[in-house]
Structure formats: structure tokens, C-alpha cells
Symmetry: C2
Subunit: 236 residues, 2 copies
DNA sequence: TCAAAAGTGTTACAGATACACCCATGT
DNA sequence: ACATGGGTGTATCTGTAACACTTTTGA
């Protein structure tokens, strides 16, 4: 390696907005960590940390996620890079934000990490956050709400087998629709997409007629994507 | 400032994918720079450079854009942050990519910068690019093609006053549709959106009936956005 | 037998698509 | 007069929205 840069360099971190969802209480939650040291000691913040010199950003985000929640193999996507010069009082820190989706019904995140205080907060009842983390949260929530409308990422928050009502309620929780989604039309629409496999399994232990379970068929989705990619033109 | 970080830090750069469009030749172009120094000496690359310690990333991207093209006040949006550890042979360099949209009919970018060789390339006829810039280009093009379908960013590539046919041809150039857009339906659809102002001005110097000119009404668009934001639910 | 959610069809309306001719202008 | 793109309306089809009752199960 015969070249090197000698410019002053900002520090580089990743921060993760970890969304969790459980069908039982039907609300969208975010994992926060209470800071044990200055600055912002005692304030809640997004999990995150420094990027190592030999890992790429997604690897760093996965590592943080593993350290904080014990969770791996979940949906993780780059969100935005935040770079306001004064965003960290300790000096110049640029942070690449990621967001993750965790199905709390099927994955068991460990309750707490190290000595830190870790907690899930309802996205609608967040405490004040350290640094510019409120801005990051807001960006993540807007991204999730937008993306869930045109990509099948909602399934990343559900267990592998789920009844249609769970999917419907999930959408209602993420989007804050003024009217609830209509049962029959939702069913028609989603089944017509052809990306769900009906299973010969049913809900158990419910005090009403047991609903059929479905699974998301990623392969079918990708095949359909390829086919329809160039055919239509929507214009806003 | 009583805290400082002492970790090893990747270098941080911005790279810009500068899209240019001119109605006269109706093709989408990208600004490239031929490298004068190693590594990749002689190869074509995206314009870009280091981020200063006191500027945020968007400011850095604007500065680069100004230096390379003399252009300012154009559409500029963060694209993605690229971080593969070996993407730059000189050492660890993380790059935040931006993309810009320039209406070549109304804005005059200066032909060349410094001693560098600068050129516009048709997006469908790109030369091999230095570093991971082909990946960045590909990401930018996919973003532009996706975004143009659901946000009115096409207007950023047209002069302030334009005939509807220019808009239609622009969409055809950006998306590679298998069939051309149908004139009457395109007109109906776009006018019904209510975000174009018809002007009392017409094309000049054309060897056929002169088309009415329109302008994009950003305020109307934003008002409509607010109103319709939560009302509909599309589901892919 | 009651409570609670599952499952099912039809009608009305809106938006999308397909399609062909006359008009205005410059050469 | 001719070549070139501008501008216009209708019929059909497809997808969306609104709406109520019967079925199954556990308590």
C-alpha cells in the first residue's frame, strides 16, 4: 500500500434504530439504551459505536446489534448518514444510521447488555434522546412508513407463520391510518399479490375460530418483481 | 470541548453522481472526470473529494459540485455510503455518495476544471470506472429511476418553462420503457395532478404548431402531499 | 349460550388503457 | 403543399372501496 491520506478525519460511528414488533400487544417499539457516561449521561440513546478499520459499515451495525440484543440474521438496512459538525459535543463525529426489524414473537432478544440499561419504547411515546438521535429516529420512522407501502418488509416483523389478521394489524400499527384497514379488501388485495403461501396450519389456543396461517414466499416475490419491473409507470 | 476520540479513523470523502439532461438530444448523461494521478491514473471517475472538518456532507458535496462544474442551486440528495474496506487501494476510505440533477438546457456548466479532463457520458455508454464507482453509478441510476416514479424530481432536469412533450420524453429517457408513453394519457394524468401551471407562452422557432409551456408549481405539490399523506394505502 | 374473531361476494365508482383525427407552424 | 409534432374525446377494462352476515371455537 504505497499511498496514504494525511487529512484530518472525522470519527465514524454507526447507530442502529432497532424496531421491534410483537403481535400480542400490536405496537411498534424501539430499542433504546440509557447512557452511563458523559456526555448526555442518563439520557436515552440509540445503540451504536465505532466502526473498526477492517469492517464495512453493515458489518459494524450487525456487530453492534449482536452485542446489544444478541440478535442476528434480521433485516438491516442503511438509513442515512448524519454529519452536522456539532452533533457530538466531543468533536467531529459522522454517524451512519441503520435500521433493523425484529419479530419479537419469534426472536428472543436478551433483556439487557453489560451494565447498560436497555429498554423497548413505544415509538409514539419516546423519551428525549441524546445527540441528534431524535432526528435519526424520525428519519427511520418515516422511512419505515414509506417503505412498508411498496416493499414487503412488514413480514420481517412477523414470525414465519402468521394469520392474515396479524399482518393487517401490523400495517395499522406502523402506518397511523385514520381509518382501520377493511378486512375483506385487505385479504383480497394481499392474496391476489401471490406472495403468500397458505399453510395447512391454524392458530391455536384462541377463544374463537382459528385462523389459517400463511408464510411469505420471498422467491415468488422476487420473480414477480423482475417481471413487472419495467411494465408500469405510476407517476406519483 | 472536554472529550476527544482516539480511535483509528477511516478517511471520509464525498462522491457525486451528476446527472445532466438536455431536451434537445433527449438522453441522460453523467459527468465524469479522467484521473490525472495514481491510483487509476487515466481512468474515468466520479467527481469527489475529502470532507473538511467543519462542513457537513451536503456542504462538501455542494462544494465539490461547484468546483467541478461551476453549478450551484441544483437538486442534490444523499444516495448511500460506501464502505468496503478495500474500495480504495490507498487505505481505508469511506465515501458518502450524492447525486445531483442538472438541467443542461438552462444551466451552463463550465466545460472543464483545472487540468482535469471532464466529460459528459451517456448513462447507457459508460466507460469502465475507477474504484467502486461503477457500483455507485448503478445505485444512483436505480435510485433515480425508482424515485422519478413517485416524486416530482423530473422537473429538476428541465428548464423552468417546458412543453409537456419535453416532460414525456424525459420520462422515456430515464426509465427505459418497452413502449413509449402514450401522448393523450400522459397529458391527462400529469395535468390532473394539479402541480403544473399552464403559461401564456409557447415554444418558438419550431417547424410545427408551437406547444404551450408549463411550469412546475412546487407549492401546490407540497400542499397536496400534506393532504393525501395518510389517506391511501397502496401495498406494493 | 355467549363472546370474539374468521371467513366470504357483490355493487358502485374511479382510474388506466387503447385508440385516430384535425390543427397550427415553418420550410 | 408538405412535413412535423400539438392537441383533443370516448369506450372499455381493471382495480378499489364500501358494506353485513354466517361460521367456528373456547370459555
Amino acid at each position: 500500500m504505497s499511498y496514504t491520506y494525511k487529512y484530518p478525519r472525522p470519527a465514524l460511528t454507526v447507530d442502529c434504530v432497532v424496531f421491534g414488533y410483537s403481535s400480542s400487544n400490536a405496537n411498534l417499539q424501539v430499542l433504546l439504551i440509557q447512557r452511563g457516561i458523559e456526555p448526555y449521561k442518563g439520557a436515552w440513546a440509540l445503540p451504536g459505536g465505532f466502526v473498526n478499520m477492517d469492517e464495512d459499515l453493515e458489518t459494524a451495525a450487525k456487530r453492534e446489534l449482536q452485542e446489544e440484543t444478541g440478535v442476528c440474521n434480521v433485516f438491516l438496512e442503511q438509513l442515512f448518514t448524519f454529519s452536522a459538525p456539532q452533533r457530538d459535543p466531543r468533536g467531529r463525529v459522522v454517524s451512519v444510521a441503520y435500521y433493523a426489524l425484529i419479530p419479537l414473537d419469534s426472536v428472543q432478544p436478551k433483556a439487557a447488555d453489560d451494565a447498560d440499561n436497555v429498554a423497548w419504547y413505544n415509538v409514539n411515546k419516546l423519551p428525549p434522546l441524546a445527540f441528534d438521535h431524535s432526528l435519526i429516529m424520525d428519519t427511520a420512522l418515516r422511512r419505515l412508513r414509506a417503505k412498508v407501502r411498496y416493499q414487503p418488509i412488514g413480514f420481517e416483523l412477523l414470525p414465519p407463520k402468521f394469520p392474515l389478521s396479524a399482518l393487517r394489524i401490523l400495517y395499522q400499527s406502523i402506518l397511523n391510518l385514520d381509518k382501520p384497514l377493511e378486512k375483506r379488501n385487505f385479504r383480497k388485495k394481499i392474496l391476489k399479490l401471490g406472495i403468500l403461501n397458505p399453510l395447512d396450519e391454524y392458530q391455536q389456543g384462541v377463544a374463537h375460530r382459528a385462523a389459517r396461517l400463511y408464510s411469505f414466499d420471498k422467491q415468488k416475490y422476487e420473480q414477480l418483481q423482475k417481471r413487472e419491473a419495467v411494465l408500469s409507470f405510476d407517476l406519483f
